[in-house]
C-alpha cells in the first residue's frame, strides 16, 4: 500500500509513522525533566561530578517501593534515603549530600514552577494538518494522607511508573499480561530468579495500572453530574473490571503453581520462592482493593445518573426537600402552607444557629467591593431582626415566641424540626427521645442536654407548644 507526501496512505489513513509518532515522542518527553536536571546541575557549585539522572531514578525507586508496601514514604524518608545513596557513591559530607537530595526531590515535583505539571511540546498530525501540541505530565506528587493531615507522603505518577519500569511504548495492561506470561514460562523452567524479577515488575505494573485508573476516577468523580462521565468513564470501568478479573485469574493460577513447586524445591531455593509468593500475593491484594474501588465508582455513577433522571422531571431543585421528598410528610403536617413559607421556615431554622460558614470566593468578593458598591449594598446576612421579620409573615407574635423558645434555646435545626413534625403520632416518650437524640447529634452542649433531660419538663412543654402551633396552623 503506497503512501503520499501528506503522511496518508492511499486508503486515506495516516501512515504508521504519523499514527505512532505522538506516542513515541511522549515516551521521550517523559525523560526530559530528568535530562534537564542533569544539564542544570552545572549552575550549582559542587554538583558537577554527580550523576543526577541516577539520583532521580533512585528517588523514583524509593517512592515506588514504598507505594508497593502500601506505606507512603514521607519527604524526610525519601530525602534521607537519597542522601545516603549520594554519600555511598560520592563520599560527600552528610549536609552536602542532603542538600543535593533536597534539590533532586524539589526538581522532580517541579517546585521551581510551583509544582505545575511539566509541559513539553510534540508534533502530531490529524485531519487538520500538522500541529505542535503540549504534553503535560508530572513525575512525583506529594499527596494528602487522609489519616494524618500533617503527613504528605510521596507518590509516583502513572507517567513516572511507566518511565521507571521501562514500558514507555507499551500499554500498561499489555505489560501486566506480558509479565505474567514470563512468570509462567520461567516457573515452568525452574528459573526462580527470573520468575522473581518478573513478579517484581508485575507488581510495579499493577501499581502503575492502579494509579492510572484511580486518577481517571478521581478526576471524573468531580464531574459526576456531567453526561460525559457516563460516556467516557463507564466503558473504562467495565474494561477495568474485566482486566482485573483476568489478572486475578492468571495470578491465582501462578500462585497454585508456586505452591505445587514448593515441595519439589531444594532448601536454598525456598527463600526465592517465598519472595515470589509474597510479590504475587501483593498483586492479588492490590487488585482486590482496586476492584472494590471500581465497583464503588460504578455505584456512585449509577446513583448520580438515577438522581439526574429524577431531578430532570422535577421543578426547582432548590426546593427539593419540601417539594419532592418531604412533600408526603408535609402534606399531612403543613398542607395549608405554601412552598415559599416552608422554605422561609427552613431558612429561619437555619438562622437560629449562630454560625457562619466561610467561603473563600464570597470573602474575596466582599473584600474587593468598590466603596460605592459597599454603600449601596448592606450586609445581606440575615440578622436577628430580619429573621423575626421573615417569620412574622408566617406566624403570629405568640407563635414566634413558641418557636423561639424551643428553637433558640436548643439551637434546633432542620433535622430536629422535621423529626418534630414527623413524630406527631408518636408517643410522648418517643418524641422526647427523638428530640433529645436530635439535640445531642446536632452538636449542642452536653450540659444543656443533660439539664434538659433532668427537667424533662422543658422538652415536654416545648413539644406541646409545637403541637399547639401545628394545631393552630391546621
Amino acid at each position: 500500500m503506497g503512501t503520499d507526501i501528506t503522511g496518508h496512505r492511499s486508503d486515506g489513513n495516516l501512515t504508521d509513522f504519523w499514527r505512532d509518532l505522538p506516542k513515541r515522542q511522549i515516551s521521550l518527553l517523559l525523560t526530559a525533566p530528568i535530562h534537564r536536571m542533569e544539564t542544570n546541575k552545572t549552575r550549582y557549585e559542587g554538583y558537577k561530578d554527580h550523576d543526577i539522572r541516577a539520583y532521580a531514578l533512585r528517588t523514583l525507586e524509593a517512592v515506588i517501593n514504598a507505594m508497593a508496601l502500601e506505606q507512603g514514604a514521607t519527604e524526610d524518608e525519601i530525602i534521607s534515603d537519597l542522601a545516603r545513596f549520594i554519600r555511598e557513591v560520592s563520599k560527600n559530607e552528610p549536609s552536602e549530600a542532603r542538600k543535593i537530595a533536597e534539590w533532586v526531590v524539589a526538581e522532580l515535583v517541579n517546585d521551581d514552577e510551583r509544582r505545575l505539571p511539566f509541559k513539553e511540546a510534540y508534533l502530531s498530525r490529524n485531519e487538520d494538518g500538522i500541529r505542535r501540541r503540549a504534553f503535560s505530565f508530572r513525575l512525583l506528587d506529594q499527596i494528602y494522607d487522609p489519616n494524618d493531615p500533617n503527613n504528605h507522603p510521596f507518590r509516583a505518577t502513572p507517567e513516572a511508573l511507566h518511565l521507571y519500569i521501562g514500558v514507555l511504548l507499551l500499554e500498561i495492561e499489555d505489560e501486566q499480561r506480558a509479565r505474567e506470561s514470563l512468570m509462567e514460562y520461567h516457573l515452568k523452567h525452574n528459573n526462580l530468579e527470573s520468575t522473581r524479577l518478573n513478579a517484581d515488575a508485575s507488581l510495579k505494573a499493577t501499581l502503575a495500572y492502579e494509579q492510572k485508573l484511580k486518577t481517571a476516577i478521581d478526576i471524573a468523580s468531580r464531574d459526576i453530574n456531567q453526561i460525559a462521565w457516563a460516556r467516557d468513564i463507564i466503558p473504562q470501568l467495565n474494561d477495568a473490571r474485566n482486566h482485573i478479573g483476568e489478572r486475578q485469574e492468571s495470578m491465582g493460577h501462578i500462585r497454585e503453581r508456586l505452591r505445587a513447586k514448593a515441595s519439589e524445591l531444594k532448601a536454598e531455593s525456598v527463600h526465592t520462592l517465598e519472595s515470589v509468593s509474597a510479590l504475587v500475593d501483593a498483586c492479588l491484594s492490590r487488585n482486590r482493593k482496586l476492584l472494590s474501588v471500581i465497583i464503588g465508582a460504578n455505584d456512585r455513577y449509577r446513583d448520580a445518573a438515577e438522581s439526574q433522571g429524577l431531578r430532570s422531571h422535577l421543578i426547582g431543585i432548590s426546593r427539593s426537600l419540601i417539594l419532592e421528598i418531604a412533600q408526603p410528610l408535609l402534606k399531612t403536617q403543613l398542607r395549608h402552607w405554601g412552598p415559599n413559607e416552608q422554605i422561609a421556615l427552613t431558612g429561619y431554622l437555619a438562622g437560629t444557629m449562630d454560625r457562619r460558614v466561610f467561603d473563600f470566593n464570597g470573602f474575596i468578593e466582599r473584600m474587593l467591593q468598590s466603596p460605592r458598591e459597599e454603600e449601596a449594598l448592606p450586609d445581606l446576612a440575615v440578622d436577628e431582626k430580619t429573621r423575626l421579620e421573615i417569620v412574622s409573615g408566617l406566624f403570629s407574635d405568640e407563635d414566634i415566641n413558641y418557636v423561639d423558645e424551643f428553637l433558640l434555646t436548643y439551637e434546633g435545626t432542620i433535622g430536629s424540626a422535621l423529626i418534630l413534625w414527623e413524630s406527631e403520632n408518636a408517643s410522648m416518650e418517643k418524641r422526647e427521645l427523638l428530640i433529645l437524640k436530635a439535640l445531642q447529634e446536632f452538636g449542642n452542649s452536653t450540659n444543656e442536654i443533660s439539664r434538659a433531660s433532668k427537667t424533662g419538663k422543658m422538652i415536654e412543654t416545648a413539644t406541646y407548644k409545637m403541637d399547639d402551633l401545628k394545631w393552630k396552623t391546621n
Binding site: I143, I317, S320, A326, T346, R356, V357
Partner: protein
Amino acid sequence: MEDELESNVLAEPVSNIAYDVGRLVSYVLRSKARPAGEAVYADLLKRYESDSKFRTIADGVLEGMGFRILEICELSGLVVAPESSSPWAFRNADFRSGMSVEERLIFGSLSVMIAAYLFPAPEKLEMENSVYPGTLVEDEFLKFASSTSKALGAHAETDPEWGRADLLEVWRLIVDRAAETNSERLTHKTLRGMIHHLCLFLCEQGLFTTEDAKAGKYRPTPRFRVMVRDLAQEQWYALIKKVRGGEHA
C-alpha cells in the same frame, strides 16, 4: 413520580432520613471536620453518594439553607459555600471589624494572590484532590505579592480591563507597603503583618494548617483547592493568572 416518592419515603421513615441529613449538615458546617477523622461523617458521606433519596433531601436542605454545593471529596467531605443572602454567609466583621476601605481592598487582593500563588494555572487546579499543592512561606509570598502588584499596576494604567481606579491605588499601596515592610513587625499596618493575619485567618477557617509558625510556613488543605476552583471562575483570579502567564507582562 409522586407515588414513587411517597412509597420510597414510606420504606424508611422520613424521621430517620431527616435525622441523618441533620447529622450530615452538622458536619458540613464544621469546616475542619474530615471524613477520615470521623467515622460517622464518612458513613454519612457514603450514604450521600450511594442513596439518591438521601442525597436529594440533603441537597434540598443545604440549598434551602442558602448553600451552594461546591464539591464532595474523600478528604474534605462535602464542601459548601453560602449564597450572600444566606444567614450563614460570612460577614466582613467576622474577619475583622473596623477595617478601612483600603485595608479591605488589600486583604481581598492578597487573598486572590494567595490562590494564584498556590495554583498558578488551571492544570494545577485540575489535579486530583489528593495531590498536595506545596507550602506557602510568608516571606516568599511577600515578594510574589509585591512583584505581581507591580505588574498589575503597570497594566492597569494603560488597560481599563485591568482594574478600577481604586484597585489601581491598591496595587500601588501593596508595592509601597512591601518596600517598607520590616519582617520583624507583624502589625496589621505592614504588608507582612497583613499576610500573617490573613494566613492565620485561613488556618481558622480550615483552609490552611501551620507547618512552622516561626518560619511563617503554611500548608493548604484539600478544602482550599475546592474553594479556589470556585474562585477560578471569577475575574479576580483571571486577572492575576494573566500576569503570571506573562500574557501582559
